[in-house]
Symmetry: C2
Subunit: 247 residues, 2 copies
Amino acid sequence: MAARHEEIADELRQAIDRGDYRIGGTLPAETELATRYGVSRGTVRQAVSALAAEGRIGSRQGARRVVLGNRRSQSFAELRSFAQWARAMGQQASGRVLEQFRRPATAEDASRLQIEQGDEVLQVLRVRGLDGELVLLERNVYPEWMASAVESLPADCESVVQGLYDATGVIFAHGEHVIDAVAAGSQDARLLGVRRGSPLLRIRRVTTTHAGRPIEWSDDRYRSGSVSFAVANSIGSNPLIRRAAEE
Amino acid sequence: MAARHEEIADELRQAIDRGDYRIGGTLPAETELATRYGVSRGTVRQAVSALAAEGRIGSRQGARRVVLGNRRSQSFAELRSFAQWARAMGQQASGRVLEQFRRPATAEDASRLQIEQGDEVLQVLRVRGLDGELVLLERNVYPEWMASAVESLPADCESVVQGLYDATGVIFAHGEHVIDAVAAGSQDARLLGVRRGSPLLRIRRVTTTHAGRPIEWSDDRYRSGSVSFAVANSIGSNPLIRRAAEE
DNA sequence: AAGTGGTCTAGACCACCGG
DNA sequence: CGGTGGTCTAGACCACTTA
């Protein structure tokens, strides 16, 4: 069913988790993995590059690949809805719509959703919880062509992305996220049950279809301590920085 | 000098920025790009997959690649030091060591740096600025084998990563970052010039060599409003979510 | 000097999208 | 249905690491 390179990537992930390859140790050479799995070297390279993108292994020309760790944290590697994310962590997502109304698009809405200022948009205010505990306040803005589908969702819809897919077939394919920290405003504080001015992790996000058409933009504010996000990183294969002149 | 696939990736990036390919439009087919650049299809695929990883283009089987945007924001795609990052944004990084002392490793230090509890570590408290404005408070912990090199850096060292590379040849190759929001403690507040309890963006980070050996771990606290981080995302090529049972 | 990953080629087949 | 991207192969050469 799955592509061979994905199967191999999975087997390698499991082997690392199982401890077959120690953290800090090396992976077998590409050619050896190729013969072991009965595939060509190119297929092996596809598999290991997936693990490298996840931050599990590192590589550099001339040296064996190194096992860096067995990450399991929720990362940004893949676009996931809140409900999917919760399920992957073994928790139950909940949600409730507090406000929902149509209004003309502001300049900010227009730029993010690639529509004209003054076009009708649908604004929604939702609170979301994990295993019953409130963690997130979501302010979403949808363009007019999504509005009626959103309005027809139940107010306590668990997975908005799934609901909109079922209703319209629209796929949330790409996301761009900007992360910072803000102080809770009075509405934030009241709805999340925190003190005014307390720190919130804010993620502003634009989501688009495969074709790059914006579906929504959102200002998500997470209660401090309730969630954190992880990112893994590697230097480009460049020989680091060009050294300064002297010596 | 650079690999052909990187040159092609650069040319495509410039072409997108120049507007040769409109946002929302499509890129030429792989085979056409291959003949145009005089390379094989595999090389073209290497180039476009770099753009996909940056969130500039999207792709799905059977359809032309779609131009999503021309991002320029500082993203996590590549591991960069604070100084490099500042330079890429056209700003001047500064830094100053406020405290620096050796102490025995706590359990937390030991786990993050993969050393034994009680081993000597070097703790450093730095403030860092962008164009003279204070934005960041850094609490670093280094293992013993890095300590003397760190101590020999000037107190106002602009680029710690560069300085340590020059002194020891150690390369900061991999990073893992955990992001959340916290309230400023009294020391944070005093040193960053904000009110106690005001929101800070916290990034806790472990950096390792190519071989996965931890070089340092750090608790970085950014003043709210001074910086934000961007991440681009795509859904796996999976046909989204498995639909629920009915219909 | 041998081993290893990085790059590149030329070709093949398939699954999927679009008109 | 033709065009497209996704997968896979078998081979080649090079740059780099390691011992």
